[in-house]
């Protein structure tokens, strides 16, 4: 592995080192039980199919990925002891030596290859299917080495493996019983109610996990979930409702850990109606007072998002660009007039009443658009109708809420690349050629400095082409008892992947 880059080597095994540091010296004394309040019952636990963040949390605990993230949100090897790219653009991963599956079989490069082939297979329903279908060749020179060649060079390939829908599964697994190598085994489940996980004693990261047993209890109702934390029924909950965050903070027994990751945005139909005109879309972008959304929908637990959703503090973030769509009703009216609609027009805004934040955001946006003359009637069907109408382009303007795949700007591709096949989470048929082109260039560029420049250009292009309008970051919070230690909410879009941190968490 002489031709591994320096960067790859530096990155490797951070999580592992951290874990060793925590358990050094003393023979790990495991805590008995942690009770964790989930926000939804995982629809299923199929490893590679995306069925939401709650399922993702469970999957990250009972499986292991090739690559994970450290507490700061940097890529870190999980099953990969080290990784890096070669001059020709191929990525090489080297596995840890001691990993075994729950059935005792060692984790080998053949298992990784099997996983990739399954995901990229023709009949795959996996979330990362499209990405892995661009893999042209997989080499496994020995049991611990995997070399992956893609049709086009991909600078962000390791992030693919960091997705929570990317567990490495034993190649001999029966069809519906995937065997994983995670820190926990699924011991039992009370269908629809709770899951009991028990520590896997041959987990490859020494001294982990630090809690013998996790009981994950589903509290779908947010107020109830908070009440369960407050009353001590739960040691920790995910997705603290915004209105209850101050309640967690003010309780001396509890601790709140929030990050701004997911965000609300406006999507457009670019194939018909007034919003096909980029000037009208920009008018919308300048018309909405973001602070109102932060207050009304998120009880102040959010941040205005007046540009392309790039996480603040990352190299690609730019103070000026992040205000590119600042609230400016006069500018909005000017753009409307320039587009030939000085007095506005009537339209219907799509949203869903099933989720309060979508509904609340829609109500505020409706109010502000009315102020510049765009009169929206709200259409708020249930979520599944909303999805169907979105995918089939049966709307003119829509409210959406989403999280990028990761904090790399490439994670925005699924949200901003309107040339991809239509889905409910992207604008429908909006023309944004420069943005899309710059996203592709950034993906293929391995040089860090050049990538930063490309993505700043991408932001400039997007501010003009408006494939979406950012509205507000929303706080993603974990609430926990102060006796719970070792858990960190990972910044930005990775917040929903923080469930993995439970493998390093303990409770006094």
């Amino acid at each position: 592995m002489t031709n591994l880059t320096r960067r790859g080597l530096v990155k490797s095994g951070l999580g592992l080192l951290a874990a060793c540091g925590l358990t050094s010296g003393v023979e790990a004394q495991r805590a008995k039980l942690l009770r964790f309040g989930l926000s939804a019952w995982p629809p299923n636990l199929q490893p590679w199919v995306s069925t939401g963040a709650s399922a993702g949390t469970v999957k990250m605990l009972i499986h292991s990925r090739l690559i994970g993230y450290d507490r700061a949100g940097n890529l870190a090897g999980e099953l990969a002891e080290s990784f890096g790219h070669e001059a020709d653009g191929a990525w090489v991963f080297r596995l840890v030596p001691n990993a075994v599956f729950h059935n005792g079989e060692p984790v080998t490069s053949a298992d990784v290859r099997h996983t990739i082939e399954q995901i990229g297979g023709e009949r795959s329903t996996a979330y990362m299917r499209a990405q892995f279908q661009s893999v042209s060749r997989i080499e496994t020179p020995d049991a611990r080495t995997i070399r992956i060649h893609t049709k086009e060079p991909v600078a962000t390939l390791p992030t693919w493996f960091g997705n929570y829908n990317m567990p490495i599964v034993w190649r001999g697994s029966p069809a519906n019983e995937p065997v994983g190598c995670g820190a926990y085994r699924l011991e039992s489940q009370e269908r629809g109610t709770s899951l009991d996980l028990v520590a896997f004693d041959r987990y490859f990261r020494a001294g982990l996990p630090r809690i013998e047993r996790l009981r994950l209890v589903v509290y779908a109702d947010e107020n109830l979930r908070f009440a369960a934390l407050k009353s001590g029924d739960m040691d920790m909950i995910e997705y603290v409702p915004w209105q209850s965050m101050s309640g967690v903070e003010s309780d001396p027994r509890l601790r709140l850990d929030t990050q701004y990751g997911p965000f609300m945005d406006i999507l457009f139909n670019g194939t018909k109606g007034p919003f096909a005109d980029a000037r009208i879309r920009r008018a919308v972008a300048h018309a909405v007072k973001r602070e109102d959304i932060v207050q009304a929908a998120f009880f102040g637990r959010g941040r205005p998002l007046e540009g392309v959703p790039i996480v603040e503090g990352t190299p690609w973030w730019d103070a000026e660009l992040s205000k590119g769509w600042r609230y400016d009703p006069a500018e909005a009216k000017r753009l409307l007039a320039a587009a030939g609609a000085p007095n506005g027009f009537q339209t219907v805004m799509l949203g869903t009443a099933q989720f309060g934040m979508h509904k609340d955001t829609a109500e505020v946006v409706q109010q502000h658009l009315a102020a510049i003359g765009i009169q929206c009637e709200l259409r708020l069907p249930d979520w599944s109708t909303r999805v169907r109408l979105g995918t089939t382009g049966q709307y003119e303007i829509a409210i959406h809420g989403v999280s990028a795949d990761n904090n790399d700007p490439d994670g925005l591709t699924v949200i901003m690349d309107t040339s991809l096949s239509p889905t409910h989470g992207r604008s429908f048929g909006v023309q944004a050629p420069r943005t899309i082109d710059l996203l592709a260039r950034g993906r293929a560029e391995f040089d860090e400095t050049k990538r930063v420049a490309i993505y700043k250009d991408m932001q400039r292009a997007a501010l003009e082409e408006v494939p979406l309008v950012g509205l507000a970051w929303r706080a993603q919070g974990y609430g926990m008892d102060r006796r719970v230690t070792g858990f960190t909410n990972i910044p930005g879009a990775l917040s929903t992947s923080s469930g993995f941190m439970l493998t390093e968490t303990t409770i006094a």
Partner: protein
């Protein structure tokens, strides 16, 4: 009726004001209910926003009133559509039967199979939420109710005389339905309408609460509660107002529905708390009427007066009644319906309805005044020393218990013996009262027995504890003639065997001669004549007695019915109560008459007793 109107007034007034508010709300100059003021969100009461502002800074008071408009609009529209469609379908189904019946009623049945919320869920997912969907869904949901009501009412109306008459006169079907059937089924439909209105508001708010109803930002109570639930801790009052408005509105509709139902259905009105309040039985100073020891008398009643408080004032169905029953003797109390016979004996048993109470007199039974015994003491006597055979054996047995058990119950109520022993006694009693196949009949249900047989059961029950006094309240009226004779024979036999005294109430003098020693004739709550049977029958002193005798069918003369009827207690005449119906009335009869003694145990309440010659002979003359 006035109380009913009072009950209607409150909810009607509430609903009327709601409707007025809903109609007038655009003209009240309220702040725009959808205008947001986010910097001032969740602020409390302030000038310009009397109930504060919600999570978007909208005026809660304004939203509350506009919410009434939304709720009522949805409820009234949906209910009206359902009422029209359902009534039409139900009427067609009920009138034409056949295919129309199948279509309307079966479809209604299918809809009724869906739990309402589920149906709502399905319709909302198909159509998307919104006021139009809500109205459609609620209409579909409530149509079957109207179909059922209209269908049922039409079925029962279509065969009534006036409908048949119209059909015979050649009226067209729509005309008949519209002119005769519809007005007749209008009241149950109106009740259904008010019921449905309330229910529609509940479902509308529930669906809006779930986010499946009214689309924001339209003000709606359900949506307001949904919104306020999230801010429950910061601003609990926000939750309170719409909850209050919703609850009061639904309450008003429920009350309206109840009142309407009572107004249209007198049967249920009677049962819904319009009875006068029961009072504690007044206790009179003991010794006011000193006990006169009648030697040999088992029961001695003096000056018994019973009052009933009614809305028209206090009435006295029994007024100053006195009589004596010797041990082993039979007293017959005779009189037309309404003369106070039954009230007299029920007051002795302590079984008067709650509103009635004995206000004067005494009734000394075995040395104790029955009217002044405590309820517990009376209960210990009832069914033991003092037993009663009721008028109607059909209704006097509890239909949900086996007859044998009911007799056993009577035995066990007064004697602590083992159940099997009591059952053996019941068997003997059944045999004694002449019930064939007594072993099997012990386990029969009341409805499996004939009237005569049931009366035998009642008699068995009455004699179970060997009473000293048996009160038979027209025990044969409900039976056919052969049965009457058998039961009378049985009573006579039993009396001879057990030696118990008997009070026998009847409205016909025919049976009196067969069974009684003395007779007491009552009219309009008073004793008008009493004395030994033979003497009274031979020469009645009171015109009423004579009239009763004349009314008994004899082989040689046609019975002469007494003209007129006993006046109701609140219209008893001032003087002689029989005077208005009496052929012999003269001026002195306008005065109240005392009971006068005539020797040989005869007593008469008549101004002209003595100078009149009455009885069958007198009529013949």
């Amino acid at each position: 009726m006035r109380r009913l109107h009072a009950r209607l007034a409150l909810p009607a007034l509430l609903i009327l004001s709601l409707v007025v508010i809903a109609l007038a709300v655009p003209f009240l100059g309220l702040p725009n209910p959808v205008r947001q003021d986010i910097p001032n969100r969740l602020t409390g009461m302030a000038p310009g926003a009397p109930l504060g502002r919600d999570e978007f800074g909208r005026d809660v008071f304004s939203r509350l009133l506009w919410g009434a408009r939304t709720s009522l609009f949805v409820a009234f529209t949906a209910t009206t559509i359902a009422a029209l469609a359902g009534t039409l379908l139900g009427m067609l189904g009920g009138w034409f039967r056949g295919v129309a019946e199948f279509l309307s009623v079966r479809i209604a049945d299918v809809i009724l199979c869906f739990p309402p919320i589920l149906l709502a869920l399905l319709v909302v997912t198909i159509m998307g939420p919104g006021v139009a969907t809500l109205i459609l869904m609620l209409s579909v949901l409530y149509t079957p109710g109207f179909v059922r009501v209209a269908y049922g009412e039409v079925l029962s109306t279509r065969n009534q005389d006036f409908v048949t008459a119209m059909t015979a006169l050649g009226a067209t079907t729509p005309r008949i339905l519209a002119l005769t059937v519809l007005p007749n089924i209008a009241s149950p439909l109106l009740v259904q309408y008010s019921l449905t209105l309330g229910a529609a508001i509940v479902v509308e708010s529930g669906l809006s609460f779930l986010g499946l109803g009214v689309v924001p930002p339209t003000p709606s109570w359900g949506l307001m509660i949904r919104g306020a639930r999230a801010t429950m801790e910061q601003a609990p009052l926000l939750l309170l107002w719409p909850c209050l408005a919703l609850t009061v509105t639904i309450l008003a509709f429920n009350l309206l529905c109840d009142a309407l139902r009572d107004a249209f259905d007198p049967k249920s009105a009677a049962s819904v708390g319009t009875r006068p309040r029961p009072r504690l039985v007044d206790r009179f100073a003991p010794g006011l009427f000193p006990t006169r020891a009648d030697s040999g008398a088992i029961l001695s009643v003096r000056g018994l007066t019973v009052e009933i408080g009614t809305r028209r004032g206090v009435i006295r169905p029994v007024d100053d009644v006195s009589f004596t029953v010797g041990a082993g003797e039979t007293l017959a109390i005779v009189g037309e319906s309404g003369s106070g016979k039954s009230v007299t004996v029920t007051s002795l048993m302590g079984l008067l309805p709650a509103a009635a109470r004995p206000v004067a007199g005494e009734a000394v039974f075995e040395g104790h005044d029955l009217l002044r015994r405590s309820p517990d003491q009376l209960r210990a006597l009832r069914g033991a020393r003092l037993a009663m055979i009721p008028q109607d054996p059909m209704s006097s047995l509890n239909p949900v218990h086996k007859v044998g058990d009911q007799v056993v119950e009577a035995i066990l109520a007064h004697r602590s013996i083992a159940r099997p022993a009591a059952r053996a006694e019941a068997l003997a009693l059944f045999r004694r009262v002449g019930i064939a196949d007594p072993e099997r009949r012990l386990d029969a249900w009341p409805h499996e027995m004939s009237g005569g047989m049931r009366q035998r059961v009642m008699i068995a029950m009455a004699i179970a504890n060997r009473p000293a006094l048996l009160i038979a309240d027209e025990p044969t009226t409900a039976l056919d003639v052969t049965m009457q004779a058998q039961i009378l024979d049985l009573l006579a036999d039993l009396r001879r065997e057990t030696g118990s005294a008997l009070i026998f109430i009847t409205h016909s003098l025919g049976v009196v001669a067969e069974i009684a020693d003395t007779v007491m004739v009552m009219y309009a709550g008073q004793v008008v004549e009493q004395g030994p049977v033979a003497s009274v029958f031979a020469a009645p002193f009171h015109p009423y007695t004579a009239a009763l005798l004349a009314a008994v069918p004899q082989d040689d003369a046609a019975p002469e019915p007494i003209p007129g009827a006993v006046p109701p207690p609140h219209r008893f005449p001032q003087g002689c109560r029989f005077a208005p119906r009496c052929g012999h009335a003269q001026p002195p009869c306008g005065e109240a008459q005392p009971l006068r003694h005539f020797g040989n145990g005869r007593e008469v309440r008549c101004a002209r007793a003595g100078d009149l010659r009455l009885g069958r002979a007198a009529h013949d003359a």
